[in-house]
């Protein structure tokens, strides 16, 4: 382990990453509203709860073992227990907080405790992304088990591979600035695994299940966009030029994602919809995530726009193949994450960030980085899909009630059957 010396700690960097961690925390309730607006009135609390609960469970798992399994030790495939229960993450050195940094991150200019807290928020929101695919039909107790097991068995190892300097994908030279692979590809492919085991919603796709409150979805999108500044610009782990570049790239890609989606939608179905604007912005944000601090110039305009357009086309895949990805986690997060992670192989630019050791095709680096990006997303997809399937199949076999609510309960809705509450108690009788 490398000790971080107090003299390296920069107050400006520390202040920014603390704020960024809080911004990322805010994305989880934002995501809850984004999804919550899209389900029917009888399932809105169920959806909000599946997301909000992640702040409860994952926070505890992360400080217990999650962080250590992601960032401890020097093994290429999995961390260790060096930082379990936050041991050695904080120490006092001359009256100031210091501590042990993950191996290879000895150049941190923020206390390791801040790094741990910032990464915690990523661990919270990543499994929450899956909830959009499983809307309206999973038992809450099954979700609790899936959430916890997935965080330990899937999120921590993949985060280790890609984010930890000792991870095998990191060492090969794959780039992922803020989680295109670790967060979006990972959660997106896991969502596919869960819906394949869980099955379709009763009545889908014949029975219409339109969103009950697009205003909630728009508020959620706004919160996500706002929080994404922390997600991407915070990943610079300092208050510097890379953070500024990531900040601008983030908002530009969100904007062109919205435009790309709306243009195609207007051409194909005649209207520019509010849900289309929200979805396109999120698609742009997803795609820029792996690229945020590694690209510059006009790259974010293209990355966001391409993601907005392609994700608009991708969300109709589920009807062709017959899997009920209810709120389009696969169409937006998996597809958007793949677009961003692969386009990084074209646009990565060492003049924007010295951490880019292999440049993208358009920066004159050849196809080497693109190949590494393919390996990174391929390995993540295979691992995440297989392990998520195994977790779901095991839960289905061993949980007394299975992982799915009964047909009656699905008809009544998750709010009443899982939580004994209703969201909108306005009826007089």
């Amino acid at each position: 382990m490398d000790i971080v010396l107090v003299k390296n700690i920069d107050t400006g960097d520390t202040a920014w990453v603390l704020v960024a961690a809080a911004l990322v925390m805010f994305m989880t309730p934002g995501l809850a509203l984004f999804y919550g607006g899209m389900v029917r009135t009888k399932n809105v609390l169920g959806m909000l709860m599946q997301n909000f609960f992640s702040l409860g469970l994952i926070t505890v798992l992360w400080v217990a073992v999650g962080y250590s399994l992601a960032f401890g030790g020097t093994n290429g495939f999995i961390g260790n227990f060096d930082f379990a229960w936050l041991q050695d993450v904080a120490g006092t050195n001359g009256g100031k907080i210091a501590g042990f940094a993950p191996p290879g991150l000895g150049t941190l200019t923020i206390p390791p405790m801040v790094f741990m807290a910032y990464q915690m928020m990523f661990a919270v929101i990543t499994p929450a992304l899956i909830t959009g695919a499983i809307a309206d039909r999973m038992r809450f107790s099954a979700w609790v088990w899936l959430l916890g097991l997935w965080a330990i068995l899937v999120y921590s190892p993949v985060a280790h591979w890609v984010f930890a300097p000792s991870g095998w994908l990191f060492k090969r030279g794959a780039l992922d600035f803020a989680g295109g692979t670790v967060v979006h590809v990972n959660a997106g492919i896991a969502a596919l695994a869960v819906v394949l085991v869980l099955g379709k919603r009763k009545g889908w796709p014949k029975h219409p299940m339109p969103p009950h409150s697009l205003p909630l979805t728009l508020i959620g999108t706004g919160i996500l966009w706002f929080g994404w500044f922390g997600f991407n610009a915070g990943s610079a782990l300092g208050a510097n030029g890379v953070a500024a570049q990531a900040f601008v790239n983030t908002t530009v890609a969100a904007a062109t994602g919205m435009l790309g989606w709306l243009i195609l939608e207007k051409l194909r179905s005649g209207h520019a919809t509010t849900l289309g604007a929200a979805s396109g912005a999120v698609a742009g944000l997803v795609a820029i995530t792996p690229c945020a601090g590694f690209v510059g110039g006009m790259a974010p305009i293209l990355i966001g726009g391409i993601a907005g357009g392609i994700c608009y086309l991708a969300v109709s895949m589920k009807f062709r193949f017959g899997y009920d990805d209810s709120l389009d986690v696969i169409g937006v997060h998996l597809v958007g994450g793949l677009i961003g992670s692969l386009l990084l192989g074209l646009f990565a630019d060492a003049s924007i960030n010295a951490a880019v050791t292999k440049e993208g095709v358009f920066s004159g680096g050849g196809w080497s980085l693109f190949g590494e990006q393919m390996i990174a997303v391929g390995a993540t997809m295979v691992y995440s899909f297989v392990v998520t399937c195994l977790i779901c199949l095991a839960l289905k076999a061993f949980m007394p009630g299975g992982i799915r609510v009964t047909e009656d309960d699905e008809e009544t809705g998750l709010d009443l059957t899982q939580h004994s509450e209703v969201a909108y108690a306005t009826d007089l009788v």
């Binding site: 219409p208 209207h271 849900l275 608009y312």
Partner: protein
């Protein structure tokens, strides 16, 4: 006595209410309902997927009237509810055996 039931477009409710008040109608009941007639439903589009919504929102107005007033009131009601476009709704009249005011126990026309 008769019960006049009208299914109308929600945005015509104010006109209908005012017209009935001018005719001296003392009370009516309004409810939000859904259904379809020859107009059928409509289409909504979410993320490129089209949903056929079979039932459209309407307002149901129910008013109890004296036999002598039926024609006058239904004509006025039809006039107030009409836009001339498809989906304006329907009005029908049914006989009512008895009406009793809860507070006083008055019955028949006195209870209207």
């Amino acid at each position: 006595m008769k019960l006049v039931t009208a299914i109308i477009k929600p945005f015509r409710l104010d006109e209908v209410k005012d017209a009935l008040r001018e005719l001296g109608v003392n009370g009516l009941t309004v409810s939000e309902v859904q259904g379809y007639g020859r107009q059928r439903g409509h289409t909504e589009v979410y993320r490129g997927a089209e949903y056929e919504i079979d039932f459209v929102p309407k307002v149901r107005v129910e008013v109890l009237v004296d036999d002598a007033d039926v024609t006058r009131i239904t004509e006025k009601l039809l006039e107030a509810a009409r836009t001339g476009k498809i989906g304006d709704g329907k009005v029908w009249v049914t006989p009512v055996e008895s009406v009793i005011r809860v507070r006083t126990g008055e019955s028949g026309s006195d209870a209207l």
